[in-house]
């Protein structure tokens, strides 16, 4: 037996991206006669085989409703559904399983809080703080709420690099600020907000804070207790899980005090025409038959993702991001939009030669899938006085070869539009 070198012993097993790629069947196909290069994980990530299998197994074997029947299939499905809740709890380090409410995704989680907490607590003259870089789903629910309650929506501006700075945040924070809703990571720019610091500031003023974690879960460590956020919303489909499932984390004491979001089955303890007693947490917020297969698939996604050394995953993605940043900056006529220090996984860019929509079509013909448009963040586009960007975004399975393919495709754009 040879002695392990001290260096090898000290560092975790190298992250093997080629092996990871084997886990994702969608990667192994040709599009337009070229091997697929998937650079759109910020829109939705691809799914590993284990997630696909978990979802299939629900329908093939444990197909039944949950929390209802005494038969074995229902017992199995209920157990796996609740195991998934425990997996979510552990992954975000919530104190209790009852603080994890399954939703359709980030959007529904935010709407749940706006509808339930917001209508119960906001009054005319109160202020709701958002930042300039929010996704529409963390703007519109608050806008609607403000219209309904007479509260005011206040916007924390970002810098031209796409950062939300403490000073700008403090400037907008007042004694009227009752609620703060902000992204943990920006989907259009990749900026990581200094959320722990901002949450502490907001709490000093007595405001309640929701983080939109849609883009964060797969790229940064999320510990809701360490962050001390009051609510955390995310989507399973950006975490290698199925679409149509996500979760809301909420502090127990806040969730307890909130009225139900939707009425129906499962969320009740007893119903008469005179009175309904609501179920305990988290079921009070889970009316109707949930996305059972989706929740179980999300559990499988967390199992998959958490099986890696997180620091190795982040280091791998950051290395590809740095490589991509240098490679894109070296292409004449390319300009990056969003250059916040410490940003993750997202490269929004413009080209002198062509409009983002044309870039998207041309690189697609080379097998490279990117997103083009406003990325559901029109205020961000407005900040930079543009209508759209092209956006390449990274997942666990991307390599520097993918970036080379993108750069090659961009050269095609230049040839054509010259």
């Amino acid at each position: 037996m040879t002695e392990a070198s001290p260096i090898a012993a000290a560092s975790p097993a190298a992250f093997d991206v080629q092996r990871v790629r084997e886990d994702f069947p969608a990667l192994h196909q040709d599009v337009h006669g070229k091997p697929l290069v998937y650079l759109d994980s910020a829109a939705t990530s691809l799914k590993p085989q284990s997630v696909i299998d978990a979802v299939t197994e629900v329908y093939a074997r444990d197909c039944s409703n949950i929390h209802r029947a005494v038969h074995l299939l229902s017992q199995r499905a209920t157990a796996r559904f609740e195991e998934s809740r425990e997996k979510v709890r552990a992954f975000v380090n919530a104190a209790k399983k009852s603080e994890v409410v399954f939703t359709r995704g980030t959007t529904e989680a935010i709407n749940l809080v706006a509808h339930s907490w917001g209508r119960a607590h906001l009054r005319e003259g109160d202020e709701v703080l958002v930042t300039e870089l929010e996704h529409h789903s963390n703007i519109v629910p608050w806008q609607i709420l403000c219209q309904q309650t007479g509260a005011t929506l206040v916007v924390v501006p970002m810098t031209d690099r796409g950062e939300v700075l403490r000073e700008a945040f403090e400037e907008q924070l007042t004694e009227r600020t009752r609620f703060v809703a902000m992204a943990h990571v920006s989907n259009a720019l990749g900026s990581v907000l200094p959320v722990a610091e901002l949450i502490a500031l907001a709490h000093d003023r007595g405001a309640v804070v929701l983080l939109d974690g849609a883009q964060a879960m797969s790229h940064v460590d999320v510990d809701v207790q360490a962050l001390d956020c009051d609510f955390y919303a995310f989507s399973g489909h950006k975490l290698y899980g199925p679409t149509g499932i996500g979760a809301l984390y909420g502090k127990e004491q806040l969730l307890e005090g909130m009225p139900p979001y939707q009425g129906g089955g499962d969320m009740i303890r007893s119903v008469t025409f005179e009175e309904t007693l609501y179920n305990e947490l988290p079921y009070k917020f889970e009316a109707g038959t949930p996305n059972i297969a989706g929740a179980i698939g999300l559990g499988a996604a967390i199992d998959y993702f958490a099986s890696f050394d997180m620091q190795a995953v982040h280091a791998h993605e950051n290395a590809v991001l740095r490589y991509a940043t240098d490679a894109l900056e070296a292409v004449p006529g390319v300009r990056l939009v969003g250059t916040a220090p410490g940003k993750v996984a997202v490269l929004s860019f413009l080209m002198d030669a062509a409009h983002p929509h044309d870039i998207g079509t041309i690189v697609d013909s080379e097998g490279v899938a990117i997103r083009t448009g406003h990325h559901c963040a029109q205020p961000v586009m407005e900040h930079f006085d543009i209508a759209a960007t092209a956006r390449a975004s990274l997942g666990i399975y991307n390599t520097t070869d993918d970036i080379d393919a993108l750069v090659g495709a961009l050269r095609k754009v230049q040839e054509l539009f010259g």
Binding site: H32, G33, A354, H355, P356, H357, D358, T361, I362, S365, T372, G373, H374, M381, A387, A388, K412, L416, F417
Partner: protein, 148 residues
């Protein structure tokens, strides 16, 4: 998939150097077009005398397909009567959307360069934005056309 089918020289040229890229004076109709998906924007103004479009121009920003389509459209419709314009739009629409394509490309003249759009369903809205904006201008002076 042949990109040259989509990005024909005429389209690249009109995309880069749109014709009639100005507002005509006088004008008595205006339409505004917006494609919420990609942010393409067009404001089109025209002078309608009787049922004849005597002048037309637009200011817009967006992808090469949307801008070139609007540019070639303004060239094609100037001096035409409303029934002639509607017939042209109908042929154009069939060309870019139907499986069979246009029955007579000749009648479309330069507009026939957009025949390749049919192979790119995600781009049909780009190619028709100018035309929807034109219809808006003719129908309702104050409205906004979207491609939805």
């Amino acid at each position: 998939m042949d990109l040259r089918e989509l990005y024909q020289e005429v389209i690249l040229d009109h995309g880069k150097h749109p014709r009639n890229h100005r507002f005509p004076e006088p004008h008595n109709r205006e339409g505004r077009g917006y494609n919420p998906l990609c942010g393409d924007k067009i404001t089109l103004r025209l002078q309608l005398d009787g049922d004849k479009i005597t002048d037309v121009g637009f200011i817009g920003q967006g992808c090469a397909i949307s801008q070139a389509s609007c540019s070639t459209m303004t060239e094609a419709i100037k001096g035409k009567t409303l029934p002639e314009v509607q017939a042209l739009f109908s042929k154009f629409h069939t060309m870019v959307t139907s499986d069979e394509g246009a029955d007579d490309l000749d009648a479309l003249g330069k507009l026939a360069v957009f025949a390749g759009v049919r192979e790119f369903p995600m781009r049909v809205k780009c190619a028709t934005l100018g035309w929807h904006t034109l219809n808006q201008a003719l129908d309702d002076e104050s409205g906004e056309a979207t491609t939805e």
